[in-house]
Each structure stands twice: as structure tokens, then as C-alpha cells.
Amino acid sequence: MEAPQDNAQILRDCAPYIKFAKLDELLALGRANSLWPLTFGLACCAIEMMAAGASRFDLARFGAEVFRPSPRQADVMIVAGTVNKKMAAAVKTLYDQMPEPKWVIAMGNCAISGGPFVFPGQYAVVEGVDKLFPVDVYIPGCPPRPEALIEGLLKLEEKLTGKRRWPVVKAD
């Protein structure tokens, strides 16, 4: 039997073949790179969300092209469009049906604060989806460009993992 080796030496020898990490970080990395959105397009922003998932802007690069129709299979709810008072109960039910851990992205001005439909005496629009449940990322725009939605997803990934996977592109 050989003499017991120094643990630090063992780790150095294994390093090319075995990586160690904290479980939380691994889980966060896994969750961030495979966010499954709920198909929740309500109005105009839904078309830009579809465009983000389609050929040119391609959400599949970020692992997020698997839109699930059922909330029980989704991790992130992208609220794309205006939330109505008639619809608010259904939105809240969908949020409650999503299993933990779950996140919410408010896409577009209507989901952030009611958008262009807020006027004195308005009777039908919920002024911002954060009046119903907590929101993690806000994406402004009317509608936001698909690149803005991708940036919002990257911000959510940064919130999960602490690191941003795509560097911020600055104009020269």
C-alpha cells in the first residue's frame, strides 16, 4: 500500500479530468441556460416575442426556445402585452401554477406600467403586472425589439448566476 498522498496533490492531479464547483452555482448555471418560457403573449409584444424565437433572432442560442403552453412546465413567464382587469385573475392563477423556482419578465410598457393605455378615468387596464406579483426583469419598449428581449433574458441569467454570459456590446 502506498503512502497516503496529500489531498492538495490529489486535487492537482485530478484537475485536468474532474471539475469541482458549488452545487448552487451548477444548478444556477443549468437553470439560466435552459429557461423555458410560458407562451403568454397577450397583445402586440407577443409578435416581437415570436420574432425573437424565430429564425433571425433565434432564442434557441440561449436555450430558451422551448415555449411551454402549460405553466406547470415553465420556469419563466414573459408577460408580453397588456394585462386587463378581466384577465388579471387568470394571470395570477398562471403565476401560482408555475412551480418554484420561477421568474417573471415584464416585456413592454404595458406590462411595466400599463403602457399607452393609461389615461385619467381608465377602467380596464392593470397598470403594470408588478401589481399582481413580483417581477424580476423589466424590458421597456412599445414593443421592445427582439434584441431587447434577448438582453432581458441575459439580464435574468445574470441575476441567476451572477455572471453575464455575453459581454455588453459598446458602440465604438
Binding site: K86, G121, Q122, Y123, A124
Partner: protein, 152 residues
Amino acid sequence: MESAPTAVASQVLPNPLAHLPIPFQAVDYAAKGYHLDATVNPDQVVAMAAQLDKEGLALDTITGVDWMAQGQMEVIYDYFHPAKALRVVVRTRIPRDNPEVPTIQSVFPGANWHERETHDFFGIRFLGHPNLTPFLLPEDATYHPLRKDFTS
């Protein structure tokens, strides 16, 4: 090539529905966007709808207008012909504090939803309507938002 804009010619067509007992007035289409306009009593709207149905017109939409200053509400029925340029408008006025009009749903089933919407927005009751429940507003809504005295 540059061309000066021409003035829009006025278009008042001869009334193709002159044989009907409806008090139509010919209207300048270029100025207003419709050809014939008639104002009738509320109890005549179903008969009007039936006659226009026989002529082959289709129901375009039903609009309510709240003339609060005059104490009246107006219901405007728009009809269009699917084959020729013929836009017909039939109007009726009802008292604002008891707004009731018979439904034309039996003639034009498409009126079902238009009347529900007008009821939602103004509170106008369409007598004989099978299902005058809220259409665009929440199911338990009791307010009528397009009335001029509506406050949320």
C-alpha cells in the same frame, strides 16, 4: 411626374332603395362616407332591418352615442352591400334615462354581439335579446364606461 391634387368630386348617387318605405336622404359619399341616411322611431328598426335584409345588405356595425346634453342616446345601424357601393345608415334616438330598443338579432344574427357591446358601453337595453350579458367588460360589471357621466 408632378401632378396637382384634384379636388374630390362630390358623389351623391341616385337612391337605389327609393322603392322602400324608409325615409332615406341621399348623402354626399365623398364628404361623409355613406350614401343613404334615415332617422326612424325605435319601434321601426326591426322592420327596417328586415327590408334591408331582403335587399341583400349586410350588417356592418351598431354604434351607440350618448348625447347627454340633449337627454338622448342614439343608436346607429350601419349596413353595407356586398356587391355594389352602397352604404346605408339607419339612426334612432331613445331617451337617456330609459334607453330601450328592440333587438334586430332575429333578422341579422350578427347583431347579437354588436348589441351586447353597445349595452356594455351605454346601458342601452335591447328588448328581446337572448343574452344581454357583458361582452367586453368583466362578467360582473355594472358600469357603462362610454356614458359621458361615467367616472371610474
